[in-house]
Symmetry: C2
């Protein structure tokens, strides 16, 4: 059978999570790949001081591994994965993806493109953290994700952007003042 994104999405299992519910907790094994139909999911770890640090935020039409290392290697996850709003997701198990890889060569190419998109996203984030200051990182974030400020707690966005909630709030106030 020829691979199509439409058929792939149809083959996903629907699952709902309530706001604040966890899809995966640190120490568990990630067994699914997800697609966001509706909602916002955050991926976070606990830093060496015991604080939550958000490393990714998934919105509608995003594919994500609840923890890619755990999913591929079968190791216990370092990542926690939590719905920030009531969420409707689709999921596929590792066995289902393995079957697709052997039955439909087109799936391997699809996965290849998704992996490259993911590497680009992570790389851009890494480089921004190093080469841009807090203000520049916020400007970059606003270009594509400004809608998130109406959807999720701002301290989570601050954590994702490697700044304190106070810095984020100060920068946003400054931007508003400049616009008015």
């Amino acid at each position: 059978m020829k691979f199509s994104l439409e058929n792939f999405l149809k083959s996903g299992h629907e699952i709902d999570f309530k706001k604040n519910e966890h899809l995966l907790k640190q120490g568990e094994i990630s067994r699914n790949v997800y697609f966001v139909v509706q909602g916002v999911i955050r991926h976070y770890v606990i830093d060496f001081l015991g604080n939550e640090k958000t490393i990714r935020i998934s919105q509608e039409n995003d594919f994500f591994y609840s923890s890619n290392i755990s999913f591929w290697k079968g190791d216990a996850s370092y990542i926690n994965c939590q719905a920030l709003l009531n969420a409707r997701l689709l999921y596929w198990t590792k066995d289902e993806l393995d079957d697709l890889s052997s039955d439909q060569p087109g799936f391997i190419l699809f996965e290849n493109n998704k992996l490259k998109d993911f590497v680009i996203e992570k790389h851009k984030k890494e480089i921004s953290r190093i080469t841009k200051n807090a203000k520049e990182r916020l400007i970059e974030f606003n270009e594509t994700n400004i809608n998130l400020f109406n959807r999720i707690p701002h301290h989570i966005i601050a954590s994702y952007l490697d700044m304190t909630p106070e810095t984020l709030s100060r920068l946003r106030a400054k931007f508003k003042k400049q616009k008015s």
Copy 2:
């Protein structure tokens, strides 16, 4: 033709770089994928204070893009890529990889596995930076890369490990004292 790693390596073009020579400088476009036959290559960016920050170190048998975003998107690179020792590399152009992708489905699967390895490496690095303190990051680094201390300047390892050269030197002295 069936894909094999052996034939793929045979198809690479040999190229030599002298110690300290750059394979790619910020602003240039990355046109090659490389394989390290001999030598050590560092990947670095200039941080927002103007300092060099090493984000990856490639040794023998490592495949690497001189800059993956630039290679895939054709954008100017943020990354600088420099030989830290006299190096012998193999390289392939984007056109050559595209031809392989269409002629040999096995290549796409090979590339997928390499991309997954790369995502795992980057992810582990990201999580270590957040969840481990300097001492724990050095212990983790020593498990697989302790040989690098005899090959490249230590301030580059310190940068890669997100610590100052002074912290790295202090921690290493402490480890040596504990052993003796």
